[in-house]
């Protein structure tokens, strides 16, 4: 029986992640983990995150879990979700925050003339894009991956975010969406898979992705 640690550092929707994992993998041993030893002992690790990146990094450090996440990222199946995906990169424009630096690249805000926040009078107000990017958006699978198994290309997943990761190495990208800009919404490298969207809120396709994670042997 596989054991899955959900990193619980006080920020995020880890209860939702836990519920979805239990539903997708009723046979698995799924635990919210506040202790580094528990994370070290698990077979697989899910790293969620929600809210401001600076708060997420600070609380992760206060909980003393940064090193445990870095250790898991070295050799265990690791799934990053939302800010948990963003934190894998080097830094974020949100609060100019340094993050874990497992992947090279930065996290940027949706910005530009297409977005409602640009108050340029000449912009057609009716067609401006809102921020946060909130709702279901098709995810184009740019590379095959075990975690896409059984999920059709361009299946919509549920997003809620104002920032998105821009990997330096385009080869990390396994999924993209379009919101004013074509942006990376899923990355993968060896034992790590991470998504900007919320599989735990993406109905059957999201549950399938969690199931695929549980079955994944990178």
């Amino acid at each position: 029986m596989t054991s899955i640690a959900i990193v619980d550092y006080g920020m995020g929707n880890y209860h939702s992640v836990e519920r979805a994992l239990r539903h997708a993998a009723p046979e698995a041993d799924i635990r919210l983990c506040k202790q580094a030893q528990e994370i070290d002992a698990a077979d697989r690790v899910v790293f969620p995150g929600q809210g401001a990146m600076a708060d997420c990094m600070r609380t992760l450090d206060e909980a003393g879990l940064r090193d445990a996440v870095l250790r898991a990222a070295r050799d265990k199946p690791l799934l990053g979700v939302c800010v948990g995906e963003q934190m894998l990169f080097e830094r974020s424009d949100e609060g100019n925050t340094a993050s874990l630096g497992i992947f090279k690249g930065e996290v940027k805000r949706f910005t530009g003339p297409l977005f409602a926040e640009q108050l340029g009078a000449q912009t057609d107000r009716a067609s401006r894009l809102k921020v946060p990017h909130m709702g279901w958006n098709p995810v184009r699978q740019t590379r095959p991956h075990a975690l896409w198994s059984g999920i059709a290309d361009a299946t919509p997943f549920y997003f809620v975010h104002s920032y998105y990761a821009v990997p330096s190495d385009a080869g990390l990208t396994v999924g993209e969406s379009q919101y004013g800009v074509r942006f990376t919404c899923a990355v993968a490298h060896e034992n790590i898979f991470a998504v900007q969207f919320h599989p735990e809120k993406s109905a059957d396709s999201g549950l399938r992705l969690y199931r695929n994670f549980v079955d994944w042997n990178p």
Partner: protein
């Protein structure tokens, strides 16, 4: 007619259809102006059904008045959240940041505030700073107080019973500045009338804020849902009775919107 939806070359984001469940004493009810409540069924069963039909989110409004009663919604949210894996918004009776925490712990993804935001706008800021704006919705109940050529709307609280003298468009703008991640906008004039959204109100608020706006109040036909997006500029449309009584399924609503060129998620 200008179609307000951005082309898919710019954005793939779909417009959301959100069935709304008014909950009291453990049951879903539907009333007109909060009176003549009619039982519409078991919340978990209804939530499941809408999920199967492809609802993009669900909104639960706890319309139970007493403070003891408010806690009754927690077990319902817990049960729904462990069986239905789409975003859940919960509103009604949220007074303080600790209420937000309790509802999030129970499985809500977004918390909607209405009267409490008017009484204490800093609550919106505090809740948004702590939990992130993505989970804070400000609900605005607006009544038209001046008609054309320059209509205005007033914010009402306490289930539409109390006028505030606040201009609804200005209030929406202020709440977005305070950290609301989304505005749930209900036309009190249209609510329960089945005569369609107040599209002028929807358009004005949608243009005034950079965050998504959910249009609510007055849906009687599928065309009304489409109008909320194309004419009102709403990111999402919310309806209750047309779905509860089986007049239309969520899937039919989506098929109709798609036929009008509106991007929707279909499963």
């Amino acid at each position: 007619m200008t179609i307000a939806t951005a082309s898919s070359a710019v954005s793939g984001l779909t417009r959301r259809i959100i069935p709304c469940l008014d909950v009291t004493a453990g049951r879903v009810v539907k009333g007109v102006n909060f009176v003549q409540l009619v039982d519409a069924g078991d919340p978990i069963e209804i939530a499941r059904r809408y999920n199967e039909q492809g609802a993009d989110e669900l909104t639960f409004l706890d319309i139970t008045a007493t403070s003891d009663g408010r806690d009754l919604i927690l077990p319902i949210i817990e049960q729904v959240a462990s069986q239905v894996f789409i975003p859940l918004t919960v509103g009604g009776g949220v007074r303080q940041v600790s209420d937000v925490q309790r509802l999030l712990n129970a499985g809500a993804d977004k918390i909607s505030m209405n009267s409490a935001a008017v009484a204490n706008p800093d609550l919106v800021r505090a809740a948004s700073d702590y939990h992130g704006s993505q989970c804070i919705v400000v609900a605005i109940d607006a009544r038209r107080v001046k008609d054309a050529p320059t209509p205005t709307w007033e914010v009402f609280t306490h289930g539409g019973r109390k006028g505030t003298g606040i201009d609804a468009v200005a209030w929406a703008r202020k709440m977005a500045e305070y950290g609301a991640g989304e505005i749930l906008l209900t036309s009190m004039d249209r609510d329960g009338t089945k005569s369609g959204f107040d599209l002028e109100l929807t358009r004005q608020v949608s243009d005034a804020v950079a965050v998504p706006v959910i249009a609510s109040g007055g849906v009687g036909t599928l065309q009304h849902l489409a109008d909320g997006v194309t004419l009102g500029g709403a990111s999402a449309v919310l309806a209750a009775s047309i779905f509860h009584y089986g007049e239309f399924t969520v899937r039919e609503a989506k098929d109709f919107m798609a036929s009008r060129g509106i991007p929707v998620r279909r499963n």
